[in-house]
């Protein structure tokens, strides 16, 4: 089981340690630092590092390494999942998960870690339950606590923890009863030089914000549920009902949660909403290269493509770029060789383009590798897979809730090779 946890910041200092069993000396982290030194990029540190007596399993999030120490055979995914859960909880409690935030709330952090893991066994990781045990710090509460001397530790046993629906606390009351669902899809795609799709897949999630009184029982049905053949559910979803009728039936947790995530695989046809015309070329012997990019909308079902951001890692031999965008702004960092172009919205009538020349370092030979172009964008009111919610019903309570559903498509890892 998880023995200890060390938090290491970007400059390689341990700034927090927590031991659930006997104390493990922080020198064990030396093996981690060795690996860190070997890695060319911060994110290239291998997740599992063996040492003579322990294993170090780490995740990197928000520029903090969370290094767990284990001694016996433990499923690594279990540890990694738990570490991510720790990060999520910190973020949930403190708004951001940064070294400063953790240090500011070190006592709460400690209490949380103690509550989340007992002797290496996860104890309470559901945000709903944790918040009943340890109240998140708010400015108001801090002030009140200082005046009244009360604490942010709950006095009550978390009621939900042992009920049949451990994810929901009892006695929830709202004056405005509302349930919002966001269908968010991310396209991961690799497009080759000629513009044809090598692979494209969609990672979709339905995030919910449910503020309903009592114990509501919801059902959500889709127009085209057959799209969802690869899904992961929140534990609240009744799996049998889904298997039989393809209807999501559940008693929701209170507040924000992820109802389901799904994956539309590369075997289905995935619509590609943007295209890129590019011409990046270097000539042998010349210190100049040509650079041209044009973006255009493709299969967008008539919706606008917004917040477009193009970035590309230019070859190391590039000294500078002299480009002119038809819209938006571009920057080129001569140190990291990162070119980024903030395009904004794509106007189908007047396609955005970025043209000009790039200069190579004197004496540098023609670069071997071709830069890959990374594109980010957003399309509102569209789920690119075509997924549509049919209806949302509520049972078990008498009031009429306010319901809302929003769709959005984003680029995930959307890459165009040149």
């Amino acid at each position: 089981m998880i023995h200890s946890l060390f938090l290491v910041n970007a400059s390689g200092d341990i700034f927090l340690e927590k031991h659930w069993k006997s104390v493990v000396s922080r020198s064990v982290c030396d093996y981690f630092f060795e690996a860190l030194e070997r890695a060319t990029e911060p994110e290239n540190v291998p997740p599992v590092i063996p040492t003579p007596h322990h294993f170090l399993i780490n995740v990197l999030r928000h520029r903090i390494y969370f290094v767990a120490v284990i001694q016996s055979e433990v499923p690594p995914l279990f540890v990694i999942e738990f570490l991510h859960r720790v990060v999520d909880t910190f973020q949930d409690y403190f708004g951001v998960c940064s070294e400063a935030a953790i240090k500011d709330n070190v006592v709460v952090v400690y209490e949380l870690l103690e509550e989340m893991l007992d002797n290496g066994f996860p104890l309470a990781t559901e945000s709903n339950i944790l918040k009943e045990l340890i109240k998140p710090p708010t400015i108001l509460r801090t002030v009140v606590n200082t005046i009244t001397g009360s604490t942010n530790v709950g006095e009550q046993l978390p009621t939900g923890q042992l009920s049949v629906v451990p994810w929901r606390r009892t006695g929830v009351k709202y004056t405005n009863n509302e349930a919002y669902f966001d269908v968010v899809e991310e396209i991961d795609a690799i497009i080759d030089k000629s513009g044809s799709t090598i692979t494209a897949e969609i990672q979709g999630v339905i995030d919910a914000c449910v503020k309903l009184t009592g114990m509501p029982d919801l059902t959500l049905s889709f127009m085209n549920p057959r799209l969802l053949d690869d899904v992961s559910f929140h534990p609240c979803v009744r799996f049998k009902r889904w298997e039989a009728e393809r209807i999501l039936s559940f008693i929701p947790p209170d507040g924000n949660f992820r109802l389901l995530s799904y994956h539309v695989s590369s075997q289905n046809l995935v619509a590609i909403p943007v295209y890129v015309k590019h011409n990046i070329s270097f000539r042998e012997g010349s210190s100049q290269g040509r650079f041209e990019l044009t973006l255009g909308p493709k299969q967008t079902m008539g919706k606008a493509v917004e917040s477009v951001l193009v970035s590309s890692q230019l070859p190391r031999g590039v000294l500078n770029a002299n480009l002119s965008p038809s819209q938006g702004t571009y920057t080129f960092d001569p140190v990291t060789k990162l070119l980024s172009w903030d395009v904004g919205k794509i106007n189908p009538q007047k396609l955005p383009s970025l043209k000009g020349s790039v200069s190579l370092q004197t004496g540098a030979s023609k670069p071997d590798e071709n830069p890959t172009i990374n594109i980010q964008f957003k399309i509102q009111q569209l789920a690119i897979s075509g997924l549509k919610v049919n209806r949302l019903d509520m049972y078990g309570e008498k009031y009429k809730p306010f319901k809302g559903i929003k769709y959005m498509t984003k680029a995930g890892k959307f890459q165009v090779r040149t």
Binding site: K18, E73, D104, N105, T125
Partner: protein
């Protein structure tokens, strides 16, 4: 106002200041002070000096303060055990608090205080909490048992907590069940052979029910526990699979992977023609693909496991090639894993896509990745024959890029392609030669030299090329030097006229100027070969080489099976069995996949069954004639006395005769013989001599009949020490084997040479050649006190699992007691396995004798036996070696004998005894 203020005090008098604040009358000030102490603790400052002051704050009704003090206690109690006692009373009182939260908190914290004195006081409160009415308290208490066990295992067992924990598996609350399973699993890890998690259909049913309702973490523990269960038949296996499949849709990837493990394992039992089998295969793909869209760390672990799954069941993911395509901003460890899986999935159907991708990767920035991509192209060529041509042209394209490391990798893999498809792509050699100068890595240089040497006859200037390498011979790495030597010799054999000077040069460089023994010896061998018999040299050096195999990096099947049982664990990440690296898992049992139902096969692994006739090498029968001979000596002294004296000459005991001999005799019938005896061990280790119990095999049979003991019983060797006390924390085990009334028995003497009492003995065997297994538990009823010795007789059966051992009669034994588990191996005399009904009918004997092919025959002599044939015959009968017939020809007595082994193998023998000559000649024959 934030907690960061607690970090700012770095004044020298900090501790004193805190002390004063801790003893303040104001509650608020106290709490602030404790918070400061905790903050210092988190960054590793030593604040243990404040122990008494902090403990004083414990008796409070403020829950937060209490929690903070508990946090402090857990950290420092170990260093202040005497002080920690002060806290005990409060703990005990808190364990009876009205608020279940406080009861649970108290029992939880108490378990974390790793001080022996405290644990004594913990027992009573813990017992109460395990039976608490509130499930929250019960589940906390369950974990506490595991904590306590970690500190004092004996105490937990004495107090009967393990039984209570087992009862909790049937608890009504799924959370309690999950925690009980988790705790038991952890305890079981340090007690590999204890039957803690006694899984039967009833408990399995309870676990499956709890699985649906407990938290995600609990599900992981339960699934892992389920995976260690062996279903009775395919029906049960299917029903478990059906109830586990919904877990594949869980949001927690660890749950998904544990579910995959259970399914992969139990699937093995389902008949392949079952519809459900196909459905299950289809269901496995989507969750695995989904794991790849998670965070990179999760992806990495998932990919390592998918690598195993793809090797075991490639059909699951064969259509999912695209998800393994590399994104340029994947971390390097993900990229490399994806690449590996791409090659494993490569087939004729998708090779075009794969190659296009690989070519793309070869132009990336990351050097390591580019190299691996180039290598992957070569592996594709070797794996998918139809694609070889395309791969070669892709590699040539890459060579044209002139990127140094790409060219070098390409040359290394082209060499392998030549080795797989000789005489097919030699047209590219010219292009390769152009790049000769840019090669600076030894592996690439060696590969290039190999190509030049191998195809010297087609390269006009081969001698010039090789000569150019020769100039800096001493600066090259060994790899290159060796390759250069061979290549020039090849060249010389192909074009002897022009290259004589060159070959002499390289030979003298290798033999005279080098101090590398490998190089020097290879040089001498070539030199001698060339000078004595050039024709032979040609045959040797230019011999046709075997083609290289398709995939070189597949995991060996038995290891793969074991790893499949460990999906999701560290073992699966490292692709090594858990025993290879996990500390503290001394007794990890090797897990195997269950046998498929209805196939009628035993659990033997495929590689054993395959050892066909061609593989069995000719019998290596030891030439020492002293095989049986020695043993037949007519010493009338009791066996104990004789053994040491015979020892030196017993190097190749009877065991050898029957082990090595039998084995090879049976080579061509191994299919009917079951696992165990497939391939013949070429030679028995000489260590046999040091184990008199073994050496004593057949021979000692004679000893005994001579005078002492039971004239009709088989011979029993004296006990020897198998396990030294110093190696086993004071437990000494000596023993021997005996066959009494048709029952095989292991006689053990257990001696306690330690200072404390030993209890809870148990024994287990590893799989072995003849399936020996304990027929009952080890009966040590009374605790073994210091300096006491107990003799036990353990009946053995031969129905255990079978695995060929080396030597054949080796038996690996694990003995457990309350202190630890110990391992030793011993060797049993083969005569143990001769059954009582081994007397063959005369007619059958005659027919069989003729039918046995000559290959199955072996002959050897036994020297110095002064017995006449009748006496010898009688003696042998005592050990179930039966004389079927006797014939006298020209003053020689011919005895025809039969022996039957427990696994149904018959051995027939002809023993020739010449009156007056102390040497016996034995002709051994075997059939099944």
């Amino acid at each position: 106002m934030t907690d960061s203020k607690y970090f700012t005090t770095t004044k020298k008098g900090e501790i004193f200041e805190l002390k004063a604040e801790l003893n303040s009358d104001k509650k608020e000030k106290k709490k602030e002070a404790v918070k400061k102490v905790i903050a210092s603790m988190t960054v590793g400052k030593d604040v243990s000096a404040l122990f008494p002051d902090v403990v004083n704050c414990m008796q409070t009704d403020n829950l937060e303060l209490k929690k903070l003090v508990y946090l402090y206690l857990m950290n420092y109690a170990k260093s202040q055990p005497d002080m920690a006692i002060m806290a005990v009373n409060t703990f005990v009182k808190d364990c009876e608090d009205l608020n279940p939260l406080i009861r649970a908190l108290a029992v939880r914290t108490m378990g974390c205080i790793r001080v022996d004195k405290i644990t004594e006081y913990l027992c009573e409160p813990l017992r109460k909490c395990l039976k608490d009415e509130d499930p929250y308290v019960r589940k906390t208490a369950a974990v506490c048992v595991a904590k306590l066990h970690d500190i004092n295992a004996q105490l937990v067992e004495d107090q009967g907590f393990l039984d209570t924990l087992k009862d909790l598996i049937s608890d009504s609350n799924p959370m309690v069940v999950a925690n009980a399973v988790a705790a038991l699993s952890e305890i079981a890890e340090s007690h590999p052979n204890s039957n803690l998690l006694d899984l039967n259909p009833q408990t399995i049913n309870k676990l499956l029910t709890a699985l649906n309702e407990c938290t995600e973490w609990g599900q992981i523990f339960i699934l892992d526990c389920l995976a260690s269960y062996l279903p009775r038949d395919d029906r049960e296996s299917q029903s478990i699979c059906e109830r586990v499949t919904p877990r594949l849709s869980h949001a927690n990837s660890a749950v998904v992977l544990s579910a995959v493990k259970v399914l992969m394992k139990f699937m093995e039992m389902l008949p392949k023609d079952l519809d459900y089998y196909g459905t299950l295969l289809k269901k496995l793909a989507p969750p695995l693909v989904t794991l790849l869209s998670a965070e990179p760390e999760l992806q990495y672990v998932a990919l390592r496991n998918i690598n195993l799954i793809v090797q075991k069941r490639p059909e699951i993911l064969k259509h999912e090639m695209k998800v393994f395509f590399v994104k340029y901003n994947d971390p390097i460890y993900v990229k490399l894993e994806k690449l590996d899986i791409m090659i494993r999935l490569a087939s004729q159907a998708n090779i075009a896509q794969v190659l296009a991708e690989l070519k793309e990767y070869a132009t990336e920035v990351d050097v390591d990745f580019v190299r691996k991509a180039v290598r992957a192209i070569g592996r594709c060529a070797i794996k998918v024959e139809q694609s070889a041509e395309r791969c070669v042209s892709t590699l040539l394209d890459l060579i044209q890029t002139k990127v140094n490391y790409v060219v070098q990798e390409a040359i290394v893999v082209i060499k392998d392609i030549f080795r797989k498809y000789p005489n097919k792509y030699e047209s590219v050699i010219a292009t390769l030669c152009e790049n000769l100068d840019s090669l600076d890595e030894p592996e690439a240089r060696a590969a290039m030299i190999w190509i030049v040497g191998e195809y010297a006859e087609r390269i006009d200037n081969a001698d010039e090329l090789l000569e150019s390498f020769l100039e800096g011979f001493h600066d090259e790495s060994t790899q290159v030097q060796l390759q250069l030597l061979t290549a020039i010799v090849k060249l010389f054999l192909k074009k002897p006229t022009e290259t004589q000077e060159l070959v002499q040069q390289v030979l003298s460089l290798a033999t005279q100027d080098s101090d590398n023994p490998d190089l020097r010896d290879r040089g001498y061998i070539y030199w001698r070969l060339l000078s004595t018999d050039p024709v032979a040299a040609k045959e040797v050096v230019l011999a046709e080489k075997p083609l290289i195999s398709e995939e070189t990096d597949l995991i060996e099947p038995t290891l793969l099976e074991e790893l499949i049982c460990h999906i999701g664990t560290l073992a699966s990440v490292y692709h090594k069995p858990p025993s290879a690296f996990v500390e503290g898992s001394r007794g990890v049992q090797h897990k195997r996949l269950p046998p498929r139902a209805g196939s009628g096969e035993s659990t033997e692994s495929p590689d054993v069954g395959q050892s066909g006739p061609s593989e069995a090498p000719p019998a290596v029968i030891p030439s020492q004639g002293d095989l049986l001979g020695d043993l037949l000596n007519l010493d009338l002294a009791p066996p104990t006395a004789t053994v040491p004296s015979v020892q030196p000459s017993m190097q190749m005991g009877a065991m050898d005769l029957l082990g090595g001999g039998l084995d090879s005799l049976m080579g061509d019938e191994s299919d009917t013989m079951g696992a165990g005896l497939g391939a013949a061990p070429a030679a028995m280790p000489a260590s046999l001599g040091s184990a008199p119990a073994v050496g004593g095999g057949l021979g000692d049979l004679f000893d005994l009949g001579g005078g002492v003991g039971m004239p009709t019983g088989s011979y029993v060797a004296p006990k020897t020490v198998w396990l030294l006390a110093m190696k086993a924390k004071g437990l000494e085990i000596s023993g021997t084997f005996a066959r009494r009334g048709g029952i095989i028995q292991m006689d053990l003497s257990l001696t306690n040479k330690a200072m404390s009492v030993m209890t809870d003995f148990a024994i287990q065997f590893n799989r072995n050649s003849f399936g020996l297994a304990p027929a009952g538990p080890l009966q040590v009823l009374t605790p073994l006190s210091p300096n006491q010795t107990i003799d036990v007789s353990l009946p053995l059966s031969t129905s255990g699992p079978v695995m060929k051992m080396e030597p054949l009669n080796n038996l690996q034994v694990a003995v457990k007691n309350n202190i630890d588990v110990f391992y030793f191996s011993c060797q049993y005399p083969l005569s143990l396995l001769f059954v009582e009904d081994g007397k063959m009918d005369r007619q059958v004997f005659l027919a069989t004798w003729k039918d046995i092919p000559n290959d199955n025959e072996a002959q050897f002599q036994i020297k110095d036996i002064h017995l006449n044939s009748d006496v010898a015959s009688n003696k042998l009968q005592g050990s179930n070696i039966f004389t079927i017939a006797k014939r006298t020809v020209e003053g020689q007595d011919m005895l025809y004998q039969s022996v039957k082994l427990t696994n149904g193998i018959w051995v027939l023998a002809e023993m020739r005894i010449q009156t007056g000559n102390p040497n016996y000649t034995v002709n051994g024959n075997k059939e099944t």
